[in-house]
Amino acid sequence: MPIDTTDIERLAQILERSGVASIEIEENGQSLKLVMETEGPTVPSPALAALTGRSDGVANVAKADVAGIFVAAHPSRTKPFVEPGQAIEAGAIVGLVKIGRLYVPVLSPAAGIVDSIVAEAGATVGYGTPIVSVRSAA
């Protein structure tokens, strides 16, 4: 059976819990290497990097908590869940992670104004991948 995203997710959790930094497995000609980030998530986007220098609020980042494909709008709708400049409450759905035919929400950790959609729609994301940055009053 091929390795799928659920297996990878499960392995990542085992690594995290056991404090192991990396693992490599090979199966039926497939190989997989998982390396845990020990310093917290990297900052891949210039938009997010720019945020850290701002003084007009606290930057919060809504992150994916499961591996899959980032989806900015519900499949029945064309309008994305959030757009830059929009005011949102803590716990609001800011996007979805698609796993097969299921969708897991990405939730805003705080109330504030949506600063930017950091992840690209259609991109493969994993546990901890930054999805949306939200600026809250300091």
């Binding site: 029945s76 759905i93 299921l102």
Partner: protein
Amino acid sequence: MIEILSVLGPASVQDLGRFDQYRFGVGTSGAMDDIALRAGNILLANDENAAGIEIPMTPFKLRFGRDTAFALTGADAGADLGGRAIPPWWRSQARAGDVLSLKAMTRGARSYLTVGGGIDVPVVLGSRSTQLRGQLGGLHGRSLQPGDVLPCTAPDSSACIGELGTEPADIALARPNAPAGVTVVRVVIAGEYDMYDGVAQDLFWRSDWKVTPQSNRYGYRLQGPAVMPISPVEKRSHGIVPGVVQIPPNGQPIIQMRDAQTSGGYPKIATVIEADLWRIGQAGLGGKLRFEQTLYPDALAAQDEVSAYLDKLRVNVRRLEELRRCR
């Protein structure tokens, strides 16, 4: 428990239907979109036949009496829970006192609310479905009214109740090359098909049929060019089932739906296949329907496709649940 705060139109409690009483003239009732009801129940790890609320019109508002896991499937009704937007085809968790509001249907014609454990109205003749004609089942055999209180079965407390959505059935089961704005349903030809000549048959297949306001859980009355038989057909009443397409003397088709009578006398030109009945349930008033001829083996294959979608959903929900439980 759930308290209905406001309701427009005939919202009712429905499970998958009442299937053992047909020989006594008791129709099936049951959800007009059985796939949406099943998907909601799968998201909640319920029995797929657990009763939910079928909501055909908005605005609709209810209050949860205790912490309750719920799912909304079927039509996109612009829902929110205490002001927080709830996407379509979605499972979420309400706290005691939370108000769920369905503001406006933008896609589809019926929304389904399912709750962890199911709506616990009495089982009548083997089903919890409301039968409006016979005034039995559901809540006192009638549609819901403001102030009604619906008991819910206590759910399995070990069930995982994080938020989760699923691909809507109209996307997962989309027909290839379906024209925009027209619901195409597959039918097999029925007993009296040969009583119509080629011209009349052609009209039946090629027309876009308009769903008239005289369309509901009993049946859909369609409007289009008159489909007339070669000579007037007179038949005694005989057994019919949901999906049967009759042509009354005015030549305007009627599709029998879940609350249909068990017998009728109009000639039958075709029967909508089981796998596509839900598509009609989601076709709103003023919408357009088209009939596509199919053969019995293809009707069975279409049913297999529906089953595969639901099976995959069930397996994936279970796998993801296992994954998230270990956090």
